[in-house]
């Protein structure tokens, strides 16, 4: 499993690991739709995620927007250095985290 979701009364915790290519991102998509239908503050733990298809990146952007519409926050744990380097170099990190 590359995507696991733990839900409490107040929070979701989405854990991503390994390499999420396009097929795996469809699994992520189902989970994200589930979170969007039950909006709560959400933490993404991606410390063990080494690759994320751009499709998955867009899903995280979309999730943040959906949660913000309901005044909830999307927070991220420290990423895997390789993934950070990639997202940062390509300008995605700033847009997803900093903006």
């Amino acid at each position: 499993m590359h995507t696991t979701l733990k839900t409490t009364a107040k929070k979701h915790k989405l854990t991503l690991s390994g390499e999420i290519g396009y097929p795996e991102s469809l699994e992520l998509w189902e989970t994200i739709q589930h979170i969007a239908q039950d909006p709560k503050d959400t933490t993404v733990d991606w410390s063990n995620l080494s690759r994320l298809h751009f499709s998955g990146v867009q899903m995280l952007f979309a999730l943040r927007r959906s949660l913000e519409e309901h005044h909830h926050r999307l927070q991220f744990s420290e990423p895997n250095p390789a993934l950070y380097q990639q997202l940062h170099t390509f300008g995605v990190w700033d847009a997803l985290i900093e903006s």
């Binding site: 290519g21 396009y22 097929p23 991102s25 469809l26 998509w29 994200i32 739709q33 969007a36 994320l52 298809h53 751009f54 499709s55 990146v57 867009q58 899903m59 952007f61 979309a62 999730l63 927007r65 959906s66 519409e69 420290e78 990423p79 250095p81 950070y84 380097q85 990639q86 997202l87 940062h88 170099t89 390509f90 300008g91 995605v92 990190w93 700033d94 847009a95 900093e98």
Partner: protein, 690 residues
Amino acid sequence: MDSLIQLFYDEANEMVEGMEQVLLALESGEPDPETVNALFRYAHSFKGNSAAMGFTHLSRFTHGLESAMEVLRKEQRPLTPELANLLLQAVDLIRVLLERTRTEGDVGDPACDTLLQQIQAALSGSSVSAPPTEASEAPSASPTPTAQQVDACTTPTTTADIPRYRVLYQPAPTLNAEHDPLQLLTELQEYGQILEARFREQIPPVAQLKPDACYGSWEILYETAFEPAIVRALLELSAEGAEVQIEPIATIAATVPANAKTEPTEPVAAAPVSTTTTPETPSATAVASVSPAATVKSSESQSIRVSTEKIDALMNLVSEIVIAQSMLTNAQSGNTDERLRAAITQMERHVRELHERVMAIRLLPVSYLFNRFPRMVRDTATKLGKKVNLEMEGEETELDRTLLEALSDPLTHLIRNAIDHGIEPPDERVRQGKPEVGTIKLSAYQSEGRIYIEISDDGKGIDTERVRQKAIQLGWIGENDYPPDETLYEFIFQPGFSTAQQVSDLSGRGVGMDVVKRNVESLGGSISVYSKRGEGTRFVLRVPLTLAIMDGLGLVVANEHYIVPLTAVVEAFQYDSLQHTALFDQYEMVNVRGEFIPLLRLRQFVGLPDGERNGLIVVLEQEGQRLALQIDSIAGQQQVVLKSLEENFVRVPGFAGATILGDGRVALILDVSDLIRRTYSANERLAAVA
């Protein structure tokens, strides 16, 4: 895709040639950081281009070479002869592999790993076993350290002279397993450095998101030594529908006329616009923003590659237009309609300009040919234990591409001969008071509407006595014959002639110089040799600027038309018997203002019955020698399209080719050099008899 592959091969060949030139320059000169950088860039570009084409073996091999060059560059090591040899062998191996990819696809060779190992050993100062000379001869080495193991550093260092581009990348609209823009950008980093990337997105909330749609795009400041076309291909070919714009970040001064107003030359603003770091993550590098004021419109469109077939087809078409235009001019010669005459005159001008411009496309600097010789001289001299310095001049002289290709073999042979037979071994040169290192000069220049290529050496010169003895042995002259040096020099161009005491694999088989002469003459050119015992030899090749179209003067004899190149015509005047002198009624001369010029009656030469004995005299000149040609009348000046007699019929002595006149008739084109040579030789024989 075919055009992309062709582009790859074109560039790959240029890069391989570039690597070789730089290696030779490094070997012969002082270590120069910029030259080493250039070498590194060639290897780096080649590696990336090969990878982009899927030629992983080539890419891996050049990756290893790049690493070796990186060591040279970073540690400023001198290029030892041993290392130079190995790197030059690597260049040869790349050529072999490159050629094999055309038919066999992505192929490798065991020699690659062996050679990389040897290069690595040479760099580290350990002993190197004898390297293989050819890929096919390479031993089947057991698994050896791969290029990755040899690799020391593969990330290109940012240097000021690596071009920078502003890349706008809009990925294809649909995402799938094969299309991941992040992956493509990661691959882009293999070929250069992303200095800054601005991500733009319009990603909707989850309810409106389509998981396979792409909502993002990038604006990238990118530094790469690759051609922009390769970058474009990488991004565009991955998925249909991607849009890529690439603009060079260049100085305005480089692309506008010198008198134009220029913008500041520094293209990149110094201040970073965004730096982001997180304490626990790798530190982000400072990024720089693109200064729009300093960017210029893409230079990609300033030059394009066009296949030679297309240019040849265009040239043939222009040739046909020249003939049609000539026919039109001929057909309207009696017409008094001023408007028609003016229109045809204008058309003549345009056709001439069209011809000149198309011809210019076909012209290439002779450096394309000359650049292959430094390596050849180096290898040949090394093989023969001689020391030779090759000097080149006039590499910018331009010549028709067809002629350049045809001159390759003759020049190769002449240069090899100069090293093998001309330049003495170092100890012998020292004994004779000459510099230990011999010099071969290769020069090109244009004069009298022709291109001259000279190959001279400061070697021992032609031993005329040995040539004479050989000619006696071959039965060409008698034992008591002592022909002039010029005649003896001519013998070396005869089939089967060689004075080499030992047959080497370089020269001395006696099958070379006759082929050299025949090849040059088949181009409408000529070759002369000048030599001085103990001082050296000089070969002079003269070839026309082009083989396609020329300005000619129409000559008429017995109602037959002939063409002579206009560049060879000095003057024309009415024949006057008072100017005429004859020896034995055959050795005829014309006195032109005190200068006696051999006379050739064209009517007699072409075998027509005697007729008009007066007519006109046209004085022709080639290579400093003059000929008075007697004809009936002049038909006028016109552009003519050369058609080869040799290809369509047989070679005819005295004629360089044929052409179609405006009225549809065929006219023979006179070979002025050959006519002069024949007339002078005949006269010399008569003089000798006298």
